[in-house]
């Protein structure tokens, strides 16, 4: 027998279930417990850049909205800097900007609303540049492992042409599933389709 590699194995994922709000957004579950609920203000008051609102729904394979979904967003600031020590420019991030948010859908309509600033282009691998995007992580009852995807912005088509991630998507029409569509001056629409026609592209990160 060769030596043992001795790696531990990642803990298995389980669905967040229908009551994920109790733990991660108790206000939405109908009670107040924590002094401060986390992820309610992604950009903070001092962030530079364009203030935007993205609305949308998460749709299941039958076309119905998923009304008990929770989404987390992670993004860079308008200058393309992540508020994290492994971004070499992180000290330049505006005070109060976290870039992380928690969003839940309306229990009746399934609509979610993301209020943030539009992120800037971020560094890619080996000197490349990534088009502006918001990283998205989606959990709900019936989702066994959290789903990763990205929101890009339709007006950045030039940057998309050279984006390393978008270019990995072989079927060209599927790339459109990652685009937030402009609906007004600072507003966008972005639906996530879990299954079926126009299924959103999800990533194994």
């Amino acid at each position: 027998m060769p030596q043992n590699l001795n790696y531990l194995r990642e803990t298995a994922s389980q669905t967040a279930g229908p009551y994920v709000h109790i733990g991660l957004a108790p206000g939405a579950a109908g009670f107040k417990l924590f002094e401060k609920e986390l992820g309610q203000d992604m950009a903070g008051p001092y962030a530079n850049g364009e203030r935007i609102t993205i609305t949308g729904r998460v749709l299941d394979g039958t076309g119905s909205p998923v009304r008990d979904v929770l989404l987390e967003t992670w993004q860079a600031n308008a200058a393309g800097i992540y508020a994290h020590e492994e971004d070499p420019r992180h000290s330049e991030v505006e005070k109060g900007f976290s870039g992380w948010g928690r969003v839940i859908s309306d229990f009746d309509s399934g609509e979610f609303v993301i209020k943030t600033i539009k992120p800037g282009a971020t560094p890619g691998r080996n000197g490349a540049t990534q088009a502006p995007h918001i990283n998205l992580w989606i959990v709900a009852r019936g989702i066994n492992v959290g789903l990763n995807t990205r929101i890009y912005f339709e007006e950045d088509s030039n940057a998309h042409a050279s984006d390393q991630i978008i270019n990995l998507i072989e079927q060209l029409h599927r790339r459109d599933t990652l685009l937030a569509k402009k609906t007004g001056e600072n507003t966008y629409h972005f639906d996530v389709v879990l299954q079926g026609e126009n299924e959103t592209v999800f990533f194994d990160v």
Binding site: T11, A12, S13, Y19, G30, F34, R141, F202, F203
Partner: protein, 245 residues
């Protein structure tokens, strides 16, 4: 200056064979909520190796004490337990200063949620959520009551084993994980459709917290140990360049 931590490279690829598949026929809600197309595998960039940070200022004093953190007229009702353990990565290294959040039903199996209509009563002194940040050794603990089993609509007579939902961040968005903790000896574990979405028995065993008599408080409460393992990272020795500079 030489950095002590040389594990700053890419994250090891997630081993999907020990996670539940998106589509698991036995867990009916997953049927319409599972992508049919293959996930597209992407190499880590800054977008994946970074992630949100939390500090003690974000938390309140009783946030990790579910017996007290929603107490109105007295302590929460139920079997008093401590749940404790470490957050580690696949290299066996502790993950310090990371946020751990939990939520659960009360001792009767009822959630404090406007959508839960189960006939077991709400406990006026129990909220059902808690959070904490791991210490320098990756250690965390909560005090709570053991949750009850409850019925749910999957098959007509489906029951969830007693469980606590656990959410962990790690240092990077690529490590984000939500799972469930089960309790050693619970006969409902084997029968649970959600547990059985996991195709690997060792991975299921990894979600079952053993009774830990040493960590309990005599004449007060029992304890269960639950270690959580997040994805590990490569050392930087032979790394591709992750960043654009």
């Amino acid at each position: 200056m030489t950095k002590k931590n040389t594990y700053t490279g890419e994250f090891y690829q997630r081993d999907r064979s020990m996670h539940p598949p998106a589509y698991a026929e036995i867990y009916k809600t997953s049927v319409p909520r599972s992508p049919k197309q293959a996930l597209i595998s992407i190499e880590n960039s800054l977008s994946e190796i970074t992630g949100p940070k939390f500090g003690h200022n974000d938390l309140g004093e009783l946030d990790n004490d579910l017996i007290k953190n929603y107490a109105q007229t007295g302590d929460a009702i139920g079997e008093r337990i401590i749940v404790h353990g470490r957050v580690l990565d696949e290299n066996g290294r502790p993950v310090p200063n990371t946020l751990v959040e939990i939520w659960q039903a009360n001792a009767g199996g009822r959630y404090r949620h406007k959508k839960d209509m189960y006939l077991a009563p709400i406990d006026p002194n129990f909220g059902g959520c808690g959070r904490t940040i791991t210490d320098e050794d990756g250690y965390y603990f909560f005090r709570t009551v053991k949750p009850g089993a409850y019925p749910w609509r999957n098959w007509v007579n489906s029951w969830r084993p007693a469980h606590i939902h656990v959410s962990v961040f790690g240092t990077a968005f690529a490590q984000r994980l939500i799972t469930q903790l089960y309790f050693e000896g619970d006969p409902l574990i084997k029968k649970c459709a959600i547990v059985n979405t996991i195709p690997d028995q060792d991975a299921i065993d990894g979600l079952i917290a053993p009774l830990d008599m040493n960590a309990g408080v005599p004449l007060d409460c029992l304890a269960y140990k639950f270690d959580i393992v997040l994805r590990g990272r490569r050392s930087t020795l032979f790394e591709n360049r992750l960043e654009g500079n």
